[in-house]
Subunit: 414 residues, 2 copies
């Protein structure tokens, strides 16, 4: 896409009330617009980035047999009353509103209840199980404070998967399959090394549950990590008793700030019992379905990836996340230079390369600063000088050096 056509522009300053690095950079580079505290709109660059994250997650969910659906935001009060999660005294972050047709509704904070009801109408036999179902859907949570940019929103995108299995053993198989898929996702998104499978409170179903925590000073959580062995515990389970149970030496652990980028829960039969999700087993007797739930927030991930990888010049996107593969920057306005850059732009597009073409007539310093801020992994610079040699200057966003190469070689570097 030509930058002169893109309706967003970069800006020197972010709103003064944005204290998080992710929101500051995303707003300055034109990725998001702040609507309200904790509520963001995704502008073309931001939506493309978000879609790339969604696409990686979707591929991994489909690869393990996940079936995608899309549930509603508006929720049925009566259904949530059955699991005792409607009452504000029990769940304190609902947005609730009145229906003109009578009664009250709320905006989905999560979707165990509606999906369990859907499955209760579809599942009847052990032959129907297991089922892995997931969606990308906007959740609404009435947060008191929102100061972490897109990492904690009142309205945010969630990929929520739910597993339905015939017993605990089958459940653990599904759980582990999803756990492995999560590890692949964080690796592909460039934050694998910084992301720890972290022991957390297991609730009533098991000693521990697991959450995925990514180390960053912008995180709101505190975890205790053993970096060499990739072991981590969150604050709520950091007790001498648990450390003994896990065989971990307290002296080896270091306190770190982190953000929860994914969580995986054993739900047992809590929801299937309350809502009536049963099946007939091989012998014909009726059993409750064993469930699990698994969340990853693509919008939070976008903020986390930014926080982990950005430098003081701006955003640094990994390849699979970046809204464009190449940032083609033209310097100079000579006819031959413009033609060389235009031709290269068309060549890249013809070869299916996603390219942002800075075809603006602006100063080189401004163009480079914008390019650093926007954070596309590879930059191709075309100037009167490179055109004279018939070459392209290539610079990786993560490197300070550039190299002058032929067009053919430049293509190979993508």
């Amino acid at each position: 896409m030509r930058q002169t056509q893109l309706f967003t522009k970069t800006r020197k300053e972010a709103p003064s009330d944005e204290t998080s690095k992710n929101a500051q950079y995303l707003i300055r580079a034109g990725y998001v617009h702040k609507e309200l505290a904790g509520v963001y709109s995704y502008l073309p660059l931001g939506l493309k980035t978000l879609n790339n994250i969604v696409s990686v997650i979707r591929q991994e969910m489909n690869a393990i047999g996940g079936q995608e659906l899309l549930m509603s935001a508006l929720q049925d009060k009566e259904l949530w009353s059955r699991t005792d999660r409607w009452d504000d005294a029990k769940v304190d972050n609902w947005f609730k509103t009145e229906l003109k047709s009578g009664g009250e509704t709320g905006l989905g904070i999560t979707h165990e209840e509606p999906l369990t009801r859907i499955m209760s109408e579809q599942v009847s036999s052990y032959r129907d199980l297991p089922i892995l179902a997931y969606q990308f859907q906007n959740k609404f949570r009435n947060e008191l404070r929102a100061k972490s940019g897109v990492m904690r929103g009142k309205e945010f995108m969630m990929k929520d998967m739910y597993s339905f299995s015939k017993d605990n053993d089958a459940h653990l198989e599904d759980y582990n399959k999803i756990r492995e898929a999560y590890i692949r996702i964080f690796n592909r998104l460039g934050i694998g090394e910084k992301t720890y499978v972290t022991f957390a409170d297991g609730g009533i179903f098991s000693d521990f549950s697991e959450e995925f925590q990514t180390l960053t000073d912008s995180g709101e959580d505190v975890i205790y990590v053993q970096e060499g062995k990739k072991i981590a515990l969150n604050k709520e389970v950091y007790t001498d008793e648990n450390l003994a149970k896990l065989g971990i030496n307290k002296d080896e652990l270091v306190e770190k700030k982190a953000v929860e980028v994914g969580n995986i829960f054993h739900l047992g039969t809590r929801f299937s019992d309350a809502i009536g999700l049963k099946y007939k087993d091989e012998s014909g007797s009726e059993k409750s379905v064993v469930m699990g739930s698994y969340g990853i927030g693509p919008t939070r991930l976008m903020g986390t990836i930014l926080e982990v990888l950005a430098d003081d010049k701006g955003i640094v996107w990994p390849k699979e996340v970046s809204p464009f593969a190449v940032h083609l920057v033209r310097l100079g306005v000579n006819d031959t230079t413009v033609k060389f850059a235009d031709d290269l732009y068309n060549d890249l597009k013809d070869k299916g390369v996603e390219v942002l073409y800075d075809d603006r007539d602006a100063r080189p310093g401004e163009k480079f600063a914008d390019s650093d801020l926007i954070g596309i992994p590879i930059r191709f610079v075309i100037s009167d000088k490179t055109v004279a040699e018939g070459k392209v200057e290539v610079k990786m966003r993560t490197s300070s050096d550039s190299q002058l190469v032929s067009v053919e070689e430049a293509f190979k570097l993508i």
Copy 2:
């Protein structure tokens, strides 16, 4: 996808409170689940269908230079007060809710206000115009009655595009470009012939506005059409004065029921003046941006396409809409028959054909009834008999005849 893996099943009956054909068929075939009156979740078949509709619209919006973004559902009360559209006395279908952080928010019924504000931060010169921006986003409208299935929801998907132009002439150019794109969309979605560009009330900006109305008895609107000349007027402008103005003879018009599948509005400078969206023209003087807005509801379209094309056996999807290109139905459980069908399934998948494979061990009558209900355009039947001849029985959903052809010929028919 193998039907034994699909988590939905067909059912004999829809809920008794569903009176619309679209909701009855969509629920029975496993496309949607009803959460509340006027609120539906999209199950795997339904989401695939919806995504196909979205994909056609997106292609046409991108082809005319549309830039996609994604705005929030949660809205800023202060912003909507500036255009006097917050007050319930002025706009009566808001869902409003309290923010725990203080104040009130509402769920977006449309997005002129937030997008105008976004543009006011991006546009400064005539060089920045025109801009066409659009999104696929869920709207929320607090409807009193919801009896038309997915054709009128309290929560529904909308493609809303907005145009930003420097003056009225430039606006009309953009408007006509979008109008043509809409006509292409309805043609591609199989309802072009039944869809009329219909004169409607122009509000304060022009004599008439235009809406796209599709003829169907399930529609909630009444329009007056001249079928030969493809002229139509909606009820609000059906006056002798307007007929004279348009040069239409009243006797030629027939009253028909229809559903509004798209609308296109001239907005003038109402929103840009109220919110402060201005630009500097060629001479340096400040002007207000001229706007238009353009809506198509993909979920409503899904219901409309169904209503227009379905028959008494079930759904009939056009090619570009159907969740799968081919329904491969296996009859018989002989090893050779199963192997033939499995191989054909894998061949189809390898060639990139979207195929639903009915690999269930069920009676032929049940399988055919389900296949008719689900509505995929082409059916391939593999039975002991066809396998003995090394052939495939091919039947179009819209035809009562089938033909026995070779595998190669069957592929060509897709």
